[in-house]
Symmetry: C2
Subunit: 413 residues, 2 copies
């Protein structure tokens, strides 16, 4: 039987692991404490050239993983989805693996192969849980720098990412001015507004409210705060979609609640059936489904949820001087900043603040607001409109913009 690999795909890939900071050489953390050993799960696509000048670092968002492109062993390409940024990465694609060596690593604090709260603390032989040190975006980036050292990469052609990935791209440019030729922060901010913190707080509160959380030690209780984590995910999902997209996708369509509840883990899904669900809207079923996928299919770790959302909230490029422009004082990168007009989670004004701060330092920066229906999620979606009646959708403009920018940077290093 021949496996059909879609055109432009990197094909089958492997998630590798790199471990460093073995005690007593633990990595000091920004807020306090040390962490070690640290493992980073990462993937690479394409080949590093002899000059080591074609490396592109891809940064994932809050709930992402190192698996950015292609298919993992055991996956069926005809049925299963490739990595989360597959439409951007591959031979001939915007991050062209015929030209570039693309790296993506799972951040520390996460639960997809890199060291995080669900990892075993070698000191105790048990998962860290709440004793995992507070992580910052700076810590994530510093850990990645160790990975690049390991891979023998001194300088990145570009560092690119959306949402929290964009924060990492900015942090790279600020913390390692000599190692970053260009940065592409997408749908992001230089620091969270109180409203953005508030949304994250509610997600955390929902997890902490779940009695199955057991002060973060649910591993020991062989349980998972499923309900709290699911509610947290729902809050997030509302902020990822635009009002317009929701109108188009759901409107005020209703559904029969009983028919829509999936079979899995029925014990708490059933709790939602009752008098008050006699009228249930499609958008409600969708949110429930997203909560379930996060908990049961993606098995996201609740402590990682706390850890990474807190890192995002703490992120503040303007600290400690209070002036964002000052953060870019030593930076040497070129920038392409992309925002989306319907992204109300990271509105364009926050991208413009970054642009202005960069401009004040006389650096090259392009700042584009792209038009889309998808809201914050736009950076993860290939087609502007899903195909209807066989008509292919308009491609996300981000693809061409990234391709052109990167081509220019590569041509004039």
């Amino acid at each position: 039987m021949k496996t059909h690999i879609p055109h432009g795909s990197v094909g089958f890939v492997e998630t590798k692991r790199f471990t460093f900071a073995e005690p007593p050489h633990e990595m000091p953390m920004d807020i306090g404490g040390k962490l070690g050993p640290i493992t980073l799960a990462y993937e690479t696509y394409g080949k590093l050239n002899r000059e080591k000048s074609n490396a592109v670092l891809v940064q994932h968002a809050f709930s992402g993983s190192a698996h950015a492109a292609g298919f993992l062993p055991g996956q069926d390409p005809s049925k299963e989805k490739p990595g989360w940024w597959d439409f951007l990465i591959g031979p001939g694609r915007a991050l062209d693996t015929e030209k570039y060596f693309v790296i993506c690593s799972n951040v520390i604090g996460s639960c997809y192969g890199s060291t995080g709260p669900s990892s075993v603390d070698p000191k105790t032989g048990r998962p860290y849980g709440l004793s995992f040190p507070v992580v910052t975006v700076g810590d994530m980036v510093r850990a990645q720098a160790h990975l690049l050292d390991h891979l023998g990469i001194e300088r990145l052609l570009t560092v690119i990412g959306g949402s929290m990935g964009g924060m990492q791209a900015l942090q790279w440019a600020v913390d390692y001015p000599d190692r970053v030729a260009s940065a592409i922060p997408i749908a992001t901010t230089s620091r969270h507004s109180p409203q953005q913190i508030a949304f994250n707080h509610v997600g955390r509160a929902a997890i902490l409210a779940d009695p199955e959380f057991h002060e973060g030690d649910y591993y020991g209780w062989r349980t998972v705060p499923e309900r709290g984590l699911s509610v947290a995910r729902m809050v997030g999902f509302i902020t990822y979609l635009s009002d317009r997209k929701m109108h188009e996708k759901f409107g005020r369509m209703k559904q029969f609640a009983a028919a829509k509840v999936s079979g899995r883990q029925g014990k708490w899904a059933e709790g939602t059936i009752g008098q008050h669900s006699a009228v249930e809207f499609s958008v409600e079923g969708y949110l429930k489904h997203q909560g379930e996928v996060f908990v049961f299919d993606r098995r996201f770790d609740a402590n990682s949820y706390l850890s990474i959302t807190k890192a995002i909230d703490i992120f503040d490029l303007s600290a400690p001087s209070g002036r964002l422009a000052k953060a870019f004082g030593n930076v040497k990168s070129k920038f392409l900043i992309i925002s989306f007009d319907t992204d109300w989670l990271y509105p364009t004004y926050q991208s413009q603040e970054i642009r202005n701060a960069i401009l004040q330092n006389g650096l090259a920066v392009a700042c584009l607001e792209l038009s889309t229906i998808h809201g914050h999620d736009a950076f993860l979606i290939e087609n502007e409109k899903p195909p209807e009646g066989g008509k292919p959708g308009v491609k996300n403009k981000m693809i061409q913009v990234v391709r052109d920018f990167l081509g220019n940077v590569a041509a004039r290093p």
Copy 2:
């Protein structure tokens, strides 16, 4: 000792109760089933004139009560807050109790004296819980019509309310065209968008996820789904405040988590203390506090939360024809529609949709967007800016606009 009543206050008031729909004359409900007996808690301020032409019906929002103005017996006016719309109601105030007879009743489904899910079902001798019938805004309004009959009021000079109160004002004008001279819907919509439904859904999901919910029968278990209810309230509060207000009120100020957690019900507040709370922002403390106030001070009932938010989601003036203009086909009222420029929960475009539908029927309508920092909450706040350094704040423009409109309606009945 003399009690000091503030100038313009209605003073001490009494919450009365009116019971109707005694079996076998239960009230049929829109979605199905019957309810009876039904008790409405209500308050009145001012005096009904001989012509019975000066009645003003005030409608409360989602979590409100009949106590709109003045002080309840036992309250200390020098220390405690008056009713929720006190700044609008009283002798000389916009809803001038020297001129108008003001009525406010707690909606059915609520938990502040009117029949709701926490009321005892006479058939079982136990609280309704989830067996309480699904309530609609139409049901709420129909119950109020019984109260007006009881009070001998055939026709309202105006019906006024914000948020869900605005929905009731619209429903009154549509369902009782001969009984409503004018309506003032504020910061509201003719129907919830999927995004608005989604926010309500997350609140409901947080309550349903709490094991203390016990399928709605927590009364029997002598417990309350405190945590879920608290998380639900936090979600709500984010949507009530504008991004700008949050910036001004909290910015990115941090606090020491341990110091801020109040003593009450420490058992679950303590759950929020941990590694990840080493850095906590002021806005997080504020949300926690609002969750606690809702649960422990205001003792809002979790089943009422489910019931009323569902009524709000179901509300759709354009159903069943799909054309909003058609809903106003028989309406005879004049309208004043008010929205607030920073209200992102009920954006101005939703008020304009109502205005357009009314205009298509040749009715008189004024539609104003007022400028404010307060977001959705603006209709509940007297001063545009809290007094700083003794300087009094600018008064909410809504006050004058309502006063003038009502004066005109009263002059030309």
